[in-house]
Amino acid sequence: IPDSGNKYYLHFTTEDYKSGESAGSCLATVLYPKAKSPPAVSIKCTRTRDQKQIQEEDNRLYQKIRHQTKPIIGSNIPDSYGIIQPSLEPAWALAVAGSSYIMWEKSTEHLGYFMAQVKAVKQWLREDDFVEFDYTVLLHEVPTQEIISCHMRLTWLPAHPLKVKYFCASESQGLEEASGLESGSAAEVAHGREANF
């Protein structure tokens, strides 16, 4: 759009990350303004999955985590061979959700991300009902192919939005990527973004 920026029209389908089962489709527009600022997004999704079922799954995940007698600690998830220890799967699942928030904020018109690996995870036990995890996640950046290391602090309670605080450092020296302290919570992101998983 002349003098304004580039506008993208998207139609995409979604699927459950664990089961691969279809979870609905979305129509969205994304406008990247000429002046580099966050894009303007409007999105509408139809959901095929039952809210009640999602809530039940959330609760199951939550119980699984709470049921542990010792705080969850792990590293290299998945490992070099792509294996995720069953006992670490809940922590991995939360990392995927939390990282998606980081990637959402970091993505630009020309830079995209994938979560490559959870380098380390440590659970902080809390007195209240929230579960809290400290992560080092590695993000794969395209098209630069760089591996970005991010420190992520995540807090969650079912039926509440995920709270994510993070700080990413570029692994590559010499690139003047902005690495300032960034933080936020899912509550601040009013893009209609689902924090349920």
Binding site: Y17, T69, K70, N76, P78, D79, S80, Y81, G82, I83, P86, S87, F114, M115, A116, Q117, L138, H140, V142, P143, T144, Q145, E146, I147, S172, Q173, G174, L175
Partner: protein, 419 residues
């Protein structure tokens, strides 16, 4: 006791429960007959669920007791108040079981690779290099191994030659592992090389191809990088060459070719993952292939295999202008991708590099194409980002299996369209 531990672990694993979290194993030494009687009384208290791994027999001989977490306090108080000495042999039984399961998996992996080669697991460079010799031994009239050069750290660069004879026949070049972290590619390369050897004389397509043409297959195209992914950094991509004046190591071997070299689809920063290197073919790993292909003079197709993204790509990457053979390459890609999807439903996108993925300068296939190799393709294998580079080994055989018909499509087309 070891057998019991293993059995219990297997049962627990089969039921995928954590049965022994917080359980401890106490080593108790009965000093006299009274202690022995007391310990036997302890065994009879069913609600405590104390499990004797070693029974108290006579004074002075130790007994080993597995005590569930919930009974620990009671049992310890019992022992202490009766003056029966004990020590904690195992702090947490579940931890030990977890550790053991890990070790078992690891040794199973090792076991499988010494007997018959396990195509369903990832291997080290030594294992792969040994297997190359095995393949040649098993198919001496079809397969030979040649060395085309050396890596920066002086590792041999081996290429498998599949040939039924002739002299300098038209040839197809395949390579995997140019980016070392893309482990699914070397693994697929091994399976595919084996498949070519096995299917010659059985499958009509590959038989027709090999009756007229030769296939050259480099499986570990970046051995230094590959060794590094095993020893130090699983996500290493580049070569391991030292860069003058920089503390950063390595060059992106797929930006080092002399086609659009140095453009914005690569980086001039040695610390970058897409660093193109000081000049084209600066990397011995790349130069070896360039020299081989130019020296051969009759290579009709170059297929370079990468991961991940699930794409089938052809030139150009360094410019947006369509390749002269765009139509034909696009049609062939379309067919190959369709045949790939027919196996397990895996969806690939296809098109020129610049249209489908992003601008990339100095790539293998662009160089090959600009040097007269019409049928130049790049595969990006599974997946689309969920596991990315860390694709579980359970997907090796499915990935290789579905890619096979796509490769055959391309090779057959090359056979049927000589130029």
């Amino acid at each position: 006791m070891k057998i019991l531990l293993v059995f219990v672990a297997l049962v627990a694993a089969a039921r995928s429960e954590e049965l022994f979290v917080g359980h401890q194993v106490l080593r108790v030494t009965a000093d006299n007959e009274e202690h022995i009687a007391l310990l036997q009384g302890l065994a009879e208290q069913a609600e405590l669920q104390v499990d004797f791994w070693r029974h108290p027999t006579s004074p002075g001989n130790p007994a080993d007791l597995r005590v569930p977490f919930s009974s620990l306090q009671a049992v310890k108080i019992f022992l202490e108040s009766n003056g029966i000495p004990y020590s904690i042999m195992i702090q947490d039984v579940q931890e030990l079981l977890d550790e053991e399961k890990k070790t078992m998996l690891k040794s199973r992996r090792m076991e499988r690779s010494t007997g018959t080669f396990d195509f369903a697991s990832y291997h080290t460079i030594d294992e792969i290099y040994n297997w190359l010799d095995t393949l040649v031994e098993n198919h001496p009239h079809l397969v030979s191994k040649i060395q085309i050069g050396q890596s920066y750290e002086n590792r041999p660069l081996y290429v498998l030659k599949f040939s039924t004879g002739g002299s300098n026949r038209s040839a197809i070049w395949l390579d995997t592992g140019i980016h070392s972290r893309e482990w699914i590619t070397q693994a697929t390369g091994i399976w595919t090389a084996n498949k070519i050897a096995e299917e010659y004389g059985q499958d009509p397509s590959i038989t027709a191809i090999l009756d007229s043409m030769d296939i050259f297959f480099e499986i570990v195209t970046n051995p230094d990088g590959f060794a590094f992914t095993h020893s130090s950094n699983r996500l290493w991509r580049k070569t391991r060459s030292l860069n003058a004046g920089s503390s950063c190591v390595g060059v992106d071997a797929n930006r080092n070719w002399d086609a659009g070299f140095g453009g914005s689809g690569s980086s001039s920063n040695p610390c970058s993952e897409t660093y193109h290197g000081p000049y084209p073919n600066s990397e011995s790993e790349v130069k070896a292939i360039v020299d081989f292909i130019l020296g051969h003079g009759n290579v009709k197709s170059v297929i370079s295999i990468h991961s991940y993204s699930q794409m089938l790509l052809f030139p150009y990457g360094y410019k947006t202008e369509p390749a002269p053979d765009y139509q034909e390459l696009n049609e062939l890609a379309k067919k190959a991708v369709s045949d790939l999807a027919a196996v397990y439903g895996t969806k690939y996108t296809y098109g020129s590099i610049v249209d489908t993925i992003y601008q990339a300068d100095g790539t293998t296939v662009d160089w090959a194409y600009d040097n007269g190799v019409k049928y130049s393709f790049t595969f990006e294998l599974r997946d689309t980002g969920r596991y990315g580079f860390l694709l579980p080994s359970s997907q090796i055989i499915p990935t290789a299996t579905e890619t096979w018909p796509a490769l055959l499509d391309i090779m057959l087309h090359v056979l049927e369209h000589p130029y």
